[in-house]
Amino acid sequence: MKKFAQDFKVTGNTRLNKRHFILELQAPVPLPEILPGQFVQVLVHNSPSTFLRRPFSIHFVDYAKNTLSLLVQVKGEGSRHMGMLNPGDKLNLVYPLGNSFSLPSAGKLLLVGGGAGVAPLMFMGDVLNKKGVRPDFLLGFRSADEVSQVDEYSRYGKVYLSTDDGSMGEKGFVTQNPVICQSPLPYDRIFCCGPDAMMHAVAKLAAGKGVACEVSLENYMACGYGVCLCCITPTDKGNERVCIEGPVFETSRLQW
């Protein structure tokens, strides 16, 4: 897929909770086709401490409005700067980057996300719905005050919730939620994005129950378009680039 480097216009900045917000960005030209699981590289204000671009999963694409949205967790100076952007501000993106989740047009699918890792699952749900598939979502958050957008996810499929402290949904990690602990597991495929430890745990659980699983890796990277070779992950084909051959990998191929 052809990649672009363009200045987007901020059309919305919505705070979800203390640590997360959604940036809506309008493209200067009609958006190309974008696939769920793909990401953008954001140029923040390029200060000495935010020298490199920051990768973000694409949270949603609205072709009618010609916008794409990013779900951002405030972590450091770069994300703090993004959180302060106002409608009308410009933000330079390189996009669309990476491969995508596989997009089955049938079957029972479970989309598992944790924290800011839920980001690509909204767009995935939308695209799957358009293909006639209603997936289930299993979303994990730290606590009730970080649970957000449940109504939006519910539009695309049934939502199961877990919180670390049990303040909403099931208590504990997503891998302790009854929906994923069933045996046999009534899903044809699991799609997962979140913290590394969560993806490992979900991959292990899926493998144990004989269910195919795809994860979207979030390795550190410099360029995002395949030249720096910093974001590699070992696979059955040797070291592969998370930014080109990934970020989505079938877990049976990973040697992580």
């Binding site: 990649k3 401490s49 935010t50 030249v227 910093c230 974001c231 590699i232």
Partner: protein, 294 residues
């Protein structure tokens, strides 16, 4: 050897060029220094391989590539018709490996120069070890000179006390052109986890953080050795590139900046032309080493 303009891309920062075709016509570039090629396949170092540092980054890729046979059979055919100079960065762990790779690249009609990498800080054997001792640098350059019949460039390490001495050493070995500088050996620590950020603990520092050191070294070597210089180290824009040329570089390489702005090279080419117009200078070569020192 002619470059259509002085702006080229640094090895390891531009892949084999193909990844940038979406962004601009590669024919705009003065040249492309492609990713390092070694004697056989190398998987490179373990993840994590990079850390963002103030005004720069630390990397420890470790020369990941599929080896010279794969380069000649699978990659070269895709590069040979690029409308720009393509220069191959040659790396190795032993003198024999450097010689083997250079011999193979010598057979490729469309490649008019190699850049001998005796300065990679991220491999256990060879690499920088050849570039920090003058006698060894002379020896490996001489050995490659015997088998490589076209333009031989040698990329110097900044991790030395006396860069001019190293430049003279590779000039004595038969180098035609000097490239400087490779990355500076550095380190990043995560205070929270109390661990090094990258898997190899130390790595190569690049980006604007190293520009003043690179400029100083280009200036010192320009005065010490009468060979053309390819200058690099933290070039982010046309002004940076012009500074390197004023210090003595005939050609510049843009490295880390390609990771931040995939369009940076055409912008630098335009910026140099604007500068020349503004200062009423006929050609870019007129500013090479033109630094005014009172």
């Amino acid at each position: 050897m002619q470059f259509k303009n002085p702006v080229t891309t640094a090895s390891g920062c531009f892949g084999y060029g193909e990844e940038f075709k979406d962004f601009y016509d590669l024919g705009l570039l003065g040249g492309i220094f492609v990713k390092a090629v070694t004697g056989s396949n190398r998987d490179g170092n373990k993840y994590p391989r990079m850390a963002e540092t103030p005004s720069g980054m630390l990397n420890s890729v470790g020369l990941q590539n599929k080896g010279v046979d794969h380069f000649c059979s699978s990659i070269y055919p895709r590069l040979k018709d690029f409308n720009t100079q393509v220069i191959v960065n040659v790396s190795g762990s032993t003198i024999e490996e450097y010689v083997k790779v250079a011999e193979r690249i010598n057979e490729l009609e469309g490649i008019h120069a190699i850049e001998l990498n005796i300065s990679c800080p991220n491999v256990k054997e060879g690499g920088m070890a050849f570039g920090v001792v003058p006698a060894t640098a002379t020896e490996v350059t001489k050995a490659v000179r015997e088998v490589y019949k076209k333009v031989l460039m040698v990329k110097l390490s900044p991790n030395v006390t006396n860069i001019s001495e190293m430049a003279k050493a590779v000039a004595d070995g038969g180098a035609d052109v000097l490239t400087l500088i490779n990355t500076l050996l550095g380190m990043a620590i995560d205070a929270e986890t109390q661990k090094p950020v990258i898997s190899t603990i130390t790595g190569g520092l690049s980006g604007p953080a190293i520009k003043p050191i690179a400029l100083r070294m280009v200036w010192q070597v320009f005065r010490a050795v009468k060979l053309p210089i390819v200058g690099l180290g933290g070039i982010m824009n046309a002004t940076d590139a012009i500074e390197f040329m004023l210090a003595g570089a005939s050609v510049v390489q843009v490295g880390t900046a390609n990771f931040i702005d995939p369009m940076v090279c055409p912008k630098i080419i335009d910026g140099i032309n604007d500068y020349l117009d503004r200062h009423n200078i006929a050609a870019a070569q007129d500013i090479i080493g033109a630094l005014k020192v009172c």
